[in-house]
Symmetry: C2
Subunit: 335 residues, 2 copies
Amino acid sequence: MADVARHAGVAPMTVSRALQDDPRVAPSTRVKVLASVAALGYRLNEVARSLRAGQSSDLLGLVVTNLANPFYAQLALGVESLAAEHGMTMVLGNTAEDHGRERELVDNLVSRRVSGIVVVPAGNDHSHLRPSALDGIPAVLATRPPSGADLDCVLVDDFGGATAATRRLTEAGHRRIGFLGPLPGLWTSAERFRGFGAALAEAGLEPDERYVRFGLRDVRAAEHAAREILSLPDPPTALFTANNRNTIGAVRAVTDAHPAAALAGFDDFEFADMLGVPLTLAAYDPAEIGVQATQLLIDRIAQTDDGTPRRIVVPTTLTHHGQPHPRLPSGDPSP
Amino acid sequence: MADVARHAGVAPMTVSRALQDDPRVAPSTRVKVLASVAALGYRLNEVARSLRAGQSSDLLGLVVTNLANPFYAQLALGVESLAAEHGMTMVLGNTAEDHGRERELVDNLVSRRVSGIVVVPAGNDHSHLRPSALDGIPAVLATRPPSGADLDCVLVDDFGGATAATRRLTEAGHRRIGFLGPLPGLWTSAERFRGFGAALAEAGLEPDERYVRFGLRDVRAAEHAAREILSLPDPPTALFTANNRNTIGAVRAVTDAHPAAALAGFDDFEFADMLGVPLTLAAYDPAEIGVQATQLLIDRIAQTDDGTPRRIVVPTTLTHHGQPHPRLPSGDPSP
DNA sequence: CTGTTAGCGCATTCAG
DNA sequence: CTGAATGCGCTAACAG
């Protein structure tokens, strides 16, 4: 910068001002300075700039559990787009659902003085994400509600979506409906099960534990569980699956020799319409979650909020792929 | 840091040294310092640290064209994993194939003094990525070779993969084979077409322009083109598709009323085995590209290379989903 | 409108 | 082994 100042015949301070469009600098001077900047190929050093600024660095942290999941990639895209709109740059970390790694990443981001962090938390205790634990840097949770800390968060309407999707099954006359989901310790998983149960209750039914499986973390496990359930002496005529891994596993099981079962689930995914199996899905826009979370963060950074924790719930839409579910004959359709 | 020093009864310099495991500090002093650090909840300021260091910031930039594509999400994961292994943090930007945005993002990263940048370039001229244009910060290209600049790059074996996949079709007796691909200006697209042509040549054939379509950027366009080609009076009996968007479009076209055609293509994707259509695919590991690119970058940062541009080619593997392609009767199978 | 002074938090350099 | 001085590149805060 000193070089530029020399080249332009002004003081460094003037260069600094010209570069940040300070209105107090004369137009003629500004032109002169900008010419020198161009001539010397000079570029502002953001590191020094943000050191001086003390707080803020125009960086926005994002910590996700699994970037390989297109869901989180979309969420990241949402964060990036809004961040960019506000002149901020996204720093991305992947925890692979590892609490320790999450701590490391968050710590790292704090050390870099990012302006805020969007976190998809790996664990159920979020006390380490309190602003006080983060040198005052605000964090916003995505897809899971805070526990042990008063934090902003953006959630999906897990309960509503699961209820609506399951209702489609009961409305079609199904009375024996199975459930496949990931670990019940996951908030989303628990909520979706609750929604599932609510829809059953509306129809005067309740979950049958023989047909309920939790802890299915990948497609293979889900497929296996689906086969087991469908092989029971008195198998369900329909399945509700709590996320796309489980849905896919169920589809695999159903397209095979086993007795067909109607499927409804949570999460839309590409190709859902190409699997040759009718599928009712509670869909939502993952990017929207990223956008909303980033907006909360920006509000908090700008202090335009009132300080009380906010909670945004992103709605789901019911979509249907493939042929409509055949309406079962009234009464319990026996095998 | 001064606070910690005071608390520990030492000079700030000693705190600094203790924190970076300088062997010259006495063990007892180190313990004292670390205790104070913990007591005060002190955290090193990476911003100041990297300002002092002048170069480097333990940040590694990644600029991709489309994070929504699982391919690039996987690539990002590869970059992140190796970066993390080396104590570096990934900063991610998305260009949406926009040259201007790419320049902005790269410029931004340079201003932040990242140690290096992995770029999936949007355009065909890469002169703006020369180290001299980047204040000496090295860039590595991923999936596309440099042009107008001597840069390291990591490529996929586009030619070989396309040749191998197409060969499967000719070996099965197909003689009228169509081609669907994105814009021919894309290097990968051109290479894959070249590989397609090479396999045809081996079988004494050549591309029939009636069956060749470029510029298909999404599934819908690919599906439409596939339908058109398959509706010709003398339609091809097989199609080679140059990327997963095109493959999916072709699958959609083929599963419909149209005369079936054998399919081979580039890129594997999830569910490829669930579409009910036999599919030969040239597959490769996108994360591997990210890892290799990051390794090149780290080498260059550490100056452990000899300065000449390096080029790494990631191999492809032929995978087959669904039933094997039925072997056509010898001779040209007429409709 | 422009320049001068001072310091953000840290680590290199040189003295103890 | 430890400490003091110095400056990384930039910009508030105060002069002129």
